[in-house]
Symmetry: C2
């Protein structure tokens, strides 16, 4: 592009941005948040400093108190803990704002627990619950920097590193600050707002359905908006109309009862790591397609609107592969947007023998793997597990649910212990629903680019519970940058995404 044309292009772009901002209340929200950056970040950093692993109930309680206080400070009404029928569950938190004249009610959902952490795997200088400011991502050679003085601005490219920074304390903070900004700028919500913050999402949302069952009246709404997950990898905001289901199958295969000297017994004793390698390898062909019988059956076809949305999604595959450091995707020719609409089989972990300083020259006694099954609309999680078991049996394995007994060892040449986790199905809302259209319009009002619409997110959320227990729709509007290292070491949020997220939620609270 020549220089004149480039300048013209820049001018047009600025004009479009100006127009879109004028056409909404976004500009007011943006100004307010910009002016209050330090207060917003301070509160966020304090929140991130409280450890939030679901197994650590003492700290989960500290998080709960922090959020309840933040709601009260914002004059949110009916602030309360929602307990389920059983009391083992960690507290879900509730608050509401009823707007005179509003005809619709929207629940804004986020979760405040985070994935388990292995501090040893975090980059040097990073501690999961000691938030640090970086001038860019670690992958882009970013460096830790001091928090700026109160008379200086935060560069929107900066990132905060901490567990939960993206997944999903950013969601909690965006919801609370969006409401705050609406009030402080003298505007008001157009819908009744219900706030719902869960504490067990990363632990499988085991009690969510009980909480919904127990509080059906309080939680009535026209739609749940789930503020969780990353925006589109193109950097453009997206709305997702569903989530994949998820379940796991744990497999252990056995050789000799006791570890054998690999010299005295190799070529003769069965090799569990080789057996497991062959078993796992048999589950996919060389083009990444799952070969388990019937694995792709049951899949509900996409609607016309969904297929159109997928065709219109920006292509990010080439850029993303470059960023992630590989050249070929697992299913050749299948774009990422399409890949998440197909059920998948992934290996979370695979293990045999001792590693590192305990490594020894033996034939290991067993080998184990955790297989993660992601499900799309139409799949049944339990049926999907059974297909994997049938495959293991078809490969000649006797399948049991416990350690093999001596009798079993003497009888069956190949033995696999298979244990099954719980799971849940995928859930989708129709893109054609009036409430869906309103949500799309609200998010669209905050950006000049076309909002990306996705039939489903790749990740899993138990969205089915909203339908099953409340007959409610659930639509996902995420906030975080796509490269946030969610579920892994070095989790982070890019500040621009956090600011944008607040604007998104504010627009949703003022949807027309």
């Amino acid at each position: 592009m020549n220089k004149k044309f480039f300048l013209f292009f820049i001018l047009i772009t600025f004009f479009k941005v100006y127009l879109f901002a004028q056409s909404s209340n976004v500009l007011a929200i943006r100004k307010y948040i910009q002016a209050n950056q330090h207060a917003v970040i301070n509160e966020f950093v304090s929140f991130l400093s409280i450890p939030n692993i679901a197994t650590d109930s003492v700290n989960i309680d500290r998080n709960a108190h922090f959020i309840m206080q933040a709601m009260q400070q914002r004059n949110i009404q009916q602030v309360q803990v929602l307990y389920p029928i059983t009391t083992k569950a960690l507290p879900a938190l509730y608050g509401e704002i009823l707007v005179p004249g509003a005809t619709q009610t929207i629940v804004f959902y986020a979760h405040y627990d985070g994935q388990p952490v292995n501090p040893a795997q975090w980059a040097t200088g990073l501690v999961p619950f000691q938030p640090k400011l970086f001038n860019a991502s670690i992958e882009q050679n970013g460096m830790a920097i001091e928090f700026p003085a109160t008379d200086k601005f935060f560069d929107p490219q900066w990132r905060i590193y901490a567990r939960g920074s993206s997944d999903d304390k950013a969601g909690v903070m965006a919801i609370l600050n969006a409401y705050d900004a609406i009030v402080k700028t003298g505007m008001k919500p157009t819908v009744n707002i219900k706030f719902f913050f869960e504490a067990e999402e990363e632990a499988g949302s085991e009690h969510l359905f009980e909480i919904l069952q127990q509080h059906t009246a309080l939680l009535q709404s026209d739609c749940w908006i789930i503020c969780d997950g990353p925006i589109h990898q193109s950097g453009i905001k997206q709305v997702l109309f569903g989530a994949r289901g998820d379940t796991h199958v744990n497999v252990t295969v056995y050789g000799s009862k006791r570890p054998l000297h690999s010299g005295h017994y190799s070529n003769w004793a069965p090799s569990p790591p080789m057996m497991l390698a062959k078993l796992l390898a048999s589950m996919k062909d060389d083009k990444g397609k799952v070969t388990i019988k019937g694995f792709y059956d049951d899949v509900a076809p996409l609607s016309k609107a969904e297929m159109k949305a997928l065709r219109e999604a920006p292509s990010i595959d080439a850029q993303l592969k470059q960023e992630l450091g590989f050249t070929e995707q697992e299913l050749p020719g299948v774009l990422l947007a399409d890949a998440v609409n197909i059920p998948s089989l992934n290996i979370n972990e695979m293990q045999s023998g001792n590693v590192g300083k305990n490594a020894s020259n033996v034939i290991p006694v067993k080998a184990e793997a955790v297989i993660d099954l992601r499900l799309v609309a139409g799949n049944d999680w339990s049926r999907q597990q059974q297909k994997v078991i049938a495959h293991i049996k078809a490969k000649g394995y006797y399948v049991t649910t416990a350690e093999p007994t001596t009798e079993e060892r003497n009888k069956f040449p190949k033995i696999a212990t298979v244990t099954l986790s719980g799971g849940y199905n995928a859930q989708k809302a129709s893109m054609d629903l009036p409430i869906a259209q309103k949500i799309i319009t609200a998010v669209q009002s905050t950006i000049p680019e076309k909002v990306v619409l996705m039939p489903t997110m790749g990740g899993s959320l138990p969205l089915y519970v909203f339908d099953k227990y409340l007959h409610a729709k659930a639509i996902v509007v995420p906030i975080a940058n796509h490269d946030n290292n969610q579920h892994a070491e070095n989790e982070n949020i890019r500040l621009q995404n956090f600011w944008n997220g607040i604007e998104t939620v504010a627009a949703l609270m003022m949807m027309q």
Copy 2:
């Protein structure tokens, strides 16, 4: 068998045992050791109480002092530490007994270091360097018992559990007590005896060749007898005329640079555990045969005497499979005795993703395996490694020796980092040598059953160094029970095997 015939059979057996014992000096040795059981066991237990991991040089020194004192107490001459050219090595220990009129010199070798330990994997109540007495093996539901009072005997079925109890402090103690028993019973050796105790065998005998080079004159002999490893699984003593070689290949394969959420990216991001499973699975067919090109080339054919010995070896496969808890060997139809005469490929460890409490729902960034290659006569360890590398390349991998760079990641669809360990070749002595025949005769004089002769042991020992640096033969005469859990948790020695081992060594010291 009817009762009369059974009694007759018992009588005949006793008569054979009586005859064979009469025909040798074994009975005198046996009586002496029986009468001195408590002193022998006390010394052994003190020895086993000193930790002996090669990386722990302080404790290795304590072991060395213990052995040197034990040699001096037995009036063994020329007791000294043999240092190699470099001084990083742990001390090998030397002593000698020159017998007037003896025309042959035999070096008795054992090693006093042990395999690394992971105490958490040992059975409840067992601590690797706190020797415990059991009334049977743990696998046979044996229980820990007190050491008997000095007026009571040790049951020969009892076992001592400790790291090094079999591999190979039993060897050190059998050698020293055999010489002691010969002297104390008024007999004398027929050969000059040299004692050689190594401290780095389990760490790869890295400096052994330097020690031999530095002390060629002192270490001249007609043969080295290696007292290490287990006797035949049938429970019958064996003589092994060689050992397999050994080397390792470490392979790591890569996917995305950063761990990815397995929901958002499954079906699209490459899966390192699946890649590794497919790569490892491609190395063997479904009948356990290695499919790597040329893997079985280079193997030197067995001699007639070796083939005869293999045909005559007692069949222990069925009993052993029952004991080890599996029904089918890796190479169908191939007996264990034959399996160790074939080069092998074994997976020592395989690892991808976090396990246990750190497990997470991600696509791991890499997967790694340690491949153990056992070699037979004719194989070259370095050439064998190169065959594995060629196979990995043939499977489409770009092979590097370091973590892949960004440039490599952007260029090659499949990347494997391959690092190679050192290694050594297999070594064999001919069964037809006169010294070999004398050794067989000596061992045969201690038992009524036919001694098992094996062209090679399955395990690896750097026997080539004796040939290369001293032009000496090396023949292996093991002591330990086969179910000693060598190289693993719960290592043990059965007392009967220890007593028998002392008799074996004494017979060798008095060979005709």
